[in-house]
Symmetry: C2
Subunit: 142 residues, 2 copies
Amino acid sequence: MQDISNPDAAFTLDPRLQADTFPVVDLALCRVLLMNDARWPWLILVPRRVGVVELFDLGADDRHRLADEAARVATMLKSFGSAEKTNVATLGNVVRAFHLHVVARSTGDPGWPGPVWGFGARLPYDEPAAEAILRDLRESLR
Amino acid sequence: MQDISNPDAAFTLDPRLQADTFPVVDLALCRVLLMNDARWPWLILVPRRVGVVELFDLGADDRHRLADEAARVATMLKSFGSAEKTNVATLGNVVRAFHLHVVARSTGDPGWPGPVWGFGARLPYDEPAAEAILRDLRESLR
């Protein structure tokens, strides 16, 4: 039975996002996912809200929370791998369910200084590497 | 003489951003620029603050204002050209001065569904087209 007093209750993660990522942690608004691509430290923030496609579909409070959580995650991710720059973006041309990418970039990384989306072939983590980075990310975001 | 009571007073637009764009309007926080590329309706928001590189360099109030102005500009831009999706992103791998792209995208546009950054060669507006779109954008954002 759906708990209609809780706006998160009806939230479900888009199956394509689920297939391409590992869950990291839930912040106040967003579920944080790790993209299964070892080429860059690449997180995705998904507001646990139903029917959000565009940035302007979020109410003002949620929009501000999203900006705060993106800033927090970008701060963490930049120091995490000593990155040079973070890229923060919502595209959604293919997967329409709203999601915000936070990617740590550095000179000489694959595709630098171009964008990561659509660049080359994904390089999945092996299992120990995924476990190690997920443990570190969860500690950093707790 | 610099007016130190006004945090905007020392702001200057990055010369590369200036060279690639037309000024549209100043909102409360951001200068709005039109990218001189007729392939997509493409605006850039630049907070009139000094020394901002990353999203997390903005204080919380400015971060929330940026999110609000991005949502406002994306709403306008989506209806403006009947676009299918807006892309909102800050990369800054080349031009480090903080700037936020808001681009209106649709099925079949150049590069769809990939990102616009680094895609093909820019198509500058001719003068009448630039004047017409700038007039419409200024009316929509006033």
